[in-house]
């Protein structure tokens, strides 16, 4: 599309083709997200009418349904929204940086690092509450991602393939060490089996406050690197010729994605496929334009996460399936359908 625009005499006045369609799509996505936010508060082991939801928010009273909303459904919905946004943008950044169509933040060692750190927190330090794990998980995700980054870098910069492989190696070692700890420590095993499922239940909203500043910084970084990342899609040399510094861009993008994916995982546990699938779908809708991909991922990921969460409450009513399990069940068929299309979407 860039090449097309360059051939025109005055690219500035010509509207970018499809820009209107993209804006309409974005508005539809926003509407869907708002609808899901409301549904997420209404649907559950007991269905609650919209009027009660309205009252709970604006005319609080000592009513059992209102308690359910304020203490359980609302925090869960807000956590789902925030984690979804974080994972979606992290996924989009990750695919842009590694240029690997299968890149999930999980491969950079985010899940492995967070999971191992939580195992250590429970198994060796005896920490039991989710607020206590949070910092372990966040730190674990950040440290391991840095390790993967160091291991995956050569002096010329980072090669996507080497980076992915480094993630696999570090992940394997940590998984082994983690399972050695779990299999000899029933308490750690018990905590990890629920943490590893990935869930947004039982996370108080207070848990979000310390992580939000990191997310804000990361989102600003994501917007800042979106232009340079577009240039880098043509290769580092061409990007450098356009005045982009590939190494700096890549490092900033990786910092942002680590903060987002690490923070999201620290709150909810490892949630598969959101970070992988959403950017694909976004790219499918808007084409190779990073800023649009970010915008769509920002909305589509919480849509997917909240829809999966609602589905998880309905399918085995009245018991629930953790959202991480549902996203895998929803995500994998999409992945398979993508790769079965005649032209698999390469990056």
């Amino acid at each position: 599309m860039t090449a097309l625009a360059l051939r025109r005499d005055d690219p500035g006045t010509v509207p970018v083709p499809g820009s209107r369609r993209r804006s309409i799509g974005l508005a539809v996505a926003l509407g869907t997200l708002l609808l899901l936010l409301v549904l997420s508060v209404m649907v559950g082991s007991t269905a609650i009418a919209p009027s009660v939801v309205w009252d709970a928010l604006f005319h609080p009273a000592a009513d059992i349904d209102q308690f359910a909303i304020r203490d359980y459904r609302l925090p869960r919905t807000v956590v789902g929204l925030v984690v979804g946004v974080a994972l979606g943008v992290a996924g989009a950044l990750n695919q842009a940086v590694t240029r690997n169509p299968l890149a999930d933040p999980g491969i950079l060692g985010v899940h492995a690092g967070a999971s191992f750190a939580v195992t250590v927190a429970v198994g060796l330090f005896g920490i039991r509450d989710i607020g206590g794990y949070l910092w372990f998980a966040f730190a674990g995700a950040l440290i391991v991602t840095l390790m993967v980054l160091a291991l995956g870098s050569t002096r010329q910069g980072q090669s996507p393939v080497v980076m992915v492989l480094a993630g696999v190696c570090v992940g394997a070692v940590l998984r082994g060490a983690g399972s050695a700890l779990e299999l000899t420590n029933p308490a750690a095993f018990d905590a990890m089996r629920s943490w590893n499922a990935g869930s947004i239940v039982g996370r108080p909203v207070d848990l979000l406050w310390p992580v939000l500043p990191f997310f804000a910084v990361a989102l600003v970084l994501a917007v800042a690197v979106s232009g340079p990342l577009d240039a880098m899609a043509l290769g580092d040399e061409l990007a450098a010729a356009q005045g982009v510094r590939p190494a700096v861009t890549r490092i900033l993008a990786i910092v942002a994605l680590t903060l987002l994916a690490g923070g999201g995982t620290a709150i909810a546990g490892p949630i598969a496929f959101v970070g992988l699938m959403v950017p694909h779908v976004a790219r499918w809708i808007v084409g190779p334009h990073q800023r649009w991909i970010f915008a769509y991922s920002l909305l589509l990921a919480p849509i997917l996460l909240l829809a999966s969460d609602i589905l998880g409450r309905v399918v085995m009513h009245p018991s629930e399936i953790p959202v991480g399990v549902v996203t895998a069940f929803v995500g994998a068929p999409v992945l398979i359908a993508l790769v079965r299309r005649s032209k698999a979407s390469g990056l």
Binding site: L151, Q156, V170, P186, A332
Partner: protein, 350 residues
């Protein structure tokens, strides 16, 4: 070729016996001999070590029938089947990985890639947690789960033939579904049952006895012979589908056959011990580096796999502070080795 010397580019050994002549790559032969020696040494060490320490003399006497009673039982009934299982299963995994890596032309491929390990774990979990079945039901569940998954992946990846990349991606997708299903199943179970299931899922040689070694060994022997017979079309497939077809190899059916052999080898091991990770991935790569061959070779891969599995089981039993499933050790060692490889290769490219 009477009298003419062919330059193979490598030093070769030629064994001639009247009408049959065998050409062996010299470095591969030496490496294989050394691997066999190392495996024998580790086996001897494993037979003497344990909570009841035995001397080499006692072990030898027990093996040749010179000991009776406790020493005989410890060596022949307890430790020997475990050592034999480690060697046989390791070899099977090594060959299984070699077949997949050659077929997909991807050094990171193994039957786990088409979802076999996750599928067999799902099958085993269903047996353990829902029908609370015995050993043979567990074996049946694991095999059925693994095979059904492999078949599903193959069918889902089939679209006018099976292409390597598509197979890998579909495998990742299906594995992810099963993995989260497994997580959920584990979450539903009682803690004790869940831990037992997780230990099986990590891959363990605990409680392997002679009848499993015998059954597994027989299946594996047959499958190894089939793999050996398929090694020539395998080499031709490495040249690419078109080149292989031009040389008269039926590409689709050969690939399906190779998948079946590779999966069956891993299936046999999984049935007896649970999914032991990373051996099938690493053995062919380590063997290739040791023997410095251009492609994947089966015999060095088998021997490397056997040695790896035995060493890992020794570490899991005797070196770790508490006895662990062997799969935990292979994951750590495998990840570490892969990391080191990556590190040195990345540095070399500077």
């Amino acid at each position: 070729m009477s009298g003419a010397r062919v330059d193979f580019g490598r030093r070769v050994l030629v064994l001639r016996r009247r009408r049959i002549a065998v050409r062996l790559d010299r470095r591969s032969a030496v490496v294989c001999a050394l691997l066999t020696l190392a495996a024998a040494g580790t086996a001897a060490l494993a037979l003497t070590t344990g909570s009841y320490h035995l001397g080499t003399g006692q072990v030898l006497a027990a093996l040749t029938g010179g000991e009776t009673g406790l020493v005989h039982d410890i060596v022949v009934e307890w430790r020997l089947p475990r050592v034999a299982a480690a060697l046989i299963f390791g070899a099977a995994l090594g060959v299984s990985g070699a077949v997949f890596q050659s077929m997909l032309r991807n050094p990171l491929a193994d039957p786990g890639i088409i979802g076999f390990s996750q599928g067999s774990y799902t099958g085993a979990l269903l047996v353990i947690l829902i029908i609370d079945g015995g050993y043979w039901q567990l074996v049946g569940g694991a095999l059925a789960g693994g095979m059904a998954t492999a078949l599903a992946v193959y069918v889902l990846a089939y679209r006018r033939g099976v292409q390597g990349f598509r197979l890998i991606v579909v495998g990742i997708g299906v594995s992810a579904v099963l993995e989260s299903l497994n997580v959920w199943l584990i979450l539903q179970a009682e803690l004790e049952q869940a831990m037992a299931a997780a230990a099986w899922g990590a891959g363990s040689l605990n409680g392997v006895a002679w009848d499993q070694v015998a059954t597994g060994g027989a299946c594996i022997t047959v499958l190894l012979l089939v793999a050996g017979a398929a090694s020539r079309p395998m080499r031709q497939l490495e040249l690419g589908d078109d080149a292989a077809a031009a040389q008269g190899v039926p590409v689709s059916s050969t690939r399906l056959g190779l998948i079946v052999v590779g999966v069956a080898l891993t299936a046999t091991v999984t049935a007896a011990s649970g999914p032991i990770a990373f051996i099938s991935l690493l053995a062919p790569q380590i063997a290739r580096r040791l023997a410095r061959t251009a492609g994947i070779t089966l015999v060095p891969a088998a021997l490397t796999g056997a040695l790896l599995c035995l060493v890992a089981d020794y570490i899991a039993q005797h070196v770790a502070p508490t006895p662990l499933p062997v799969g935990v050790v292979t994951v750590i060692l495998g990840g570490g080795y892969l990391g080191r490889l990556l590190f040195t290769e990345a540095r070399r490219r500077l």
